[in-house]
Assembly symmetry: C2
Homo-oligomer: 366 residues x 2
């Protein structure tokens, strides 16, 4: 058992958090529920939405201090309740992604699509709505320990490096879910991935492992070699004249996963790439609405879709797939004690392609 | 055999065509190809896109006179070439929809998705691109006879009133195709139909016959009784405050087919209706782009899609379905000689819910 004082982490207290101003402090953890687990955190990935929250893009940071972000959490189970799910045992390695709870009563929860539950709790700065934890705030993985419902602590199978499992928990499952839904490699043989970054590099790896013919699409040619190493068979550098660059590739892709999210994505320029009955799927929220012309939408018989993270069951399938296919996201590790160096480097775009923080004092390996 | 002089029809010659100024005249028909059929026209539906073309919305009418529109054509085969497809025989009843030809060489044509062929010919005012017909203009069904490739003349099975078959050929298959694609009645149990008009009333009939739980959505309550007779189990009158009207129905529909096309459809207001993994599908082109916010698109895991007519094979499946399920679109018949009365009535919104023109002199029955 871990005592309440042991819940310490790197807290955002104002909008300068990502500039190297996270503060190590104790935080109040949710009261124990009998379906909870406590987890000793070994690794935690850094995802774009951590930076968004800590920079005040989602509202003033001071409104919910301390902000303990981090939602690609890998650790060892050190306490289990009497009503735990998933058959989790003490000492087991588990991962927690962007979602920490859901209502368990709605149709989506009962169908184990908890990521669709309207009353869900994301892993950081949101309110739990059930049991003893009702009203308390969710705390993420930039910390020494995590506590939360066992349903959202997914066992990590043998054959996956636990550090590499971390970025799969949010970024990985966010792209895996639509790749699986739209049949990458089967129904969708030709898959385009826009953006070669944290999410994009995993999307290329996964789509390729699923048997798809992958085209990577980026602004410049600076990512071409990496994209090819990751498994892309074609590469489009759009440059400034996107329409001209895409023209030779008209109607060549069954599915596009767009991991790029500028303020307003010029989706109309990209619609010509999609084959009839194909889908252009966004995974990153942008502040301005898309402008979607109806003529190519209808005459092309295409869809503009969105996809939101993945359910615990989907994360479990992703782990199994990655373990079997030996897919390995490209990560760089940082000691979590150096988070105030790692976060500014993340903001500069340094990751090639995902940063993973390591609690060496808890047994994580740099 | 029908001699060239017999190809006469009601031609649009300027933008006043729909005001009762269609002119009965001879027109030049495509040269004969051995995969062609000649058809004695008995019935032809009036579709919104006929009115759009004849009103100059698709470009000046004078640029392609005479405009012989009409693309929901039912008639009797009176001549068959030596290389006809579909096993069509003399005397057979066939239907021709919005598409009259395609390249036959691309992957989409080979997969019998001819409606996706980039070199297709629509049934009126477009150029044929193959064989002897290459370069000649397609002529529609506001006429006594039709000539074109047999692949696009779909046999009408017994058990369908040939007059009722007419509106299925464009309007019907336009809504049937996405209902079938997205699994109305199976995967998509709850289906919304926006607009109770020509297309909308057929969408309600078809979705209900497919086993879906149909919600009709219209601006006022004036169509409620008809919608219920057509098979809708629920009805939403949006009034002027669309968001307030839709709020009680949030996340209730797996699929929406939108048959309404104002200049700019407020799709953001309707996205809340869609269940996760559901689809909002447009079938009518609007001049202004849709504004699609990414937050509900992604967090809702929904798709905004378009769908374009249907292939000959899909029309054949629709005929079979309609024949088996005894689905009957609601039509009013007009003698085709009265087209200059029918077209202004169509423009006034009089159809309840589809007008069908009848060539009584060819044997059609009013």
């Amino acid at each position: 058992m871990v005592d309440a004082e042991s819940f310490k982490g790197w807290a955002g207290v104002d909008e300068k958090a990502c500039e190297g101003k996270l503060e190590f402090q104790s935080f109040e953890v949710k009261p124990w529920d009998e379906d909870d687990v406590d987890v000793k955190i070994l690794y935690c990935g850094i995802c774009g939405s951590d930076a968004s929250a800590l920079s005040g893009e989602w509202g003033p940071v001071k409104d919910s201090v301390p902000q303990i972000c981090g939602h690609e959490i890998v650790g060892e189970v050190i306490r289990v309740g009497e009503k735990i799910e998933n058959g989790i045992k003490l000492g087991q390695l588990v991962g927690i992604g962007a979602q920490s709870d859901s209502c368990r009563e709605c149709g989506d929860c009962k169908a184990h699509n908890e990521n669709f539950c309207p009353k869900q709790t994301i892993t950081f700065n949101q309110t739990f709505n059930r049991g003893n934890g009702k009203g308390s705030i969710s705390r993420g993985g930039f910390a020494k320990y995590w506590r939360g419902p066992s349903r959202f602590a997914i066992p990590i199978p043998d054959g996956i490096d636990p550090a590499v499992a971390a970025p799969l928990l949010c970024g990985g499952v966010t792209v895996y879910t639509p790749l699986e839904r739209y049949g990458a490699g089967t129904k969708a043989k030709n898959v385009g991935i826009i953006g070669v970054g944290g999410l994009g590099h995993m999307a290329i790896l996964l789509a390729n492992a699923m048997g798809a013919n992958v085209t990577a699409i980026s602004r410049s040619d600076s990512k071409q070699k990496d994209a090819e190493k990751l498994g892309a068979r074609a590469y489009i550098a759009t440059g400034d004249d996107v329409q001209a660059a895409l023209k030779p590739h008209a109607r060549s892709l069954d599915l596009i996963i767009c991991t790029s999210n500028p303020p307003k994505f010029p989706v109309a320029d990209y619609m010509s790439l999609i084959r009839p009955e194909g889908t252009f799927c966004f995974v990153g929220i942008a502040p301005e609405p898309l402008e979607v012309p109806t003529f190519p939408l209808i005459t092309g018989t295409i869809a503009i879709a969105g996809s939101y993270i993945g359910s615990p069951d989907t994360i479990a399938r992703l782990f199994k797939f990655v373990s079997e296919k030996k897919v390995e996201p490209w990560i760089q590790k940082w000691d979590m004690d150096d988070i105030n160096k790692a976060m500014p480097a993340f903001q500069r775009g340094d990751p090639k392609y995902r940063f993973v923080l390591v609690n060496t004092d808890n047994g994580g390996k740099v």
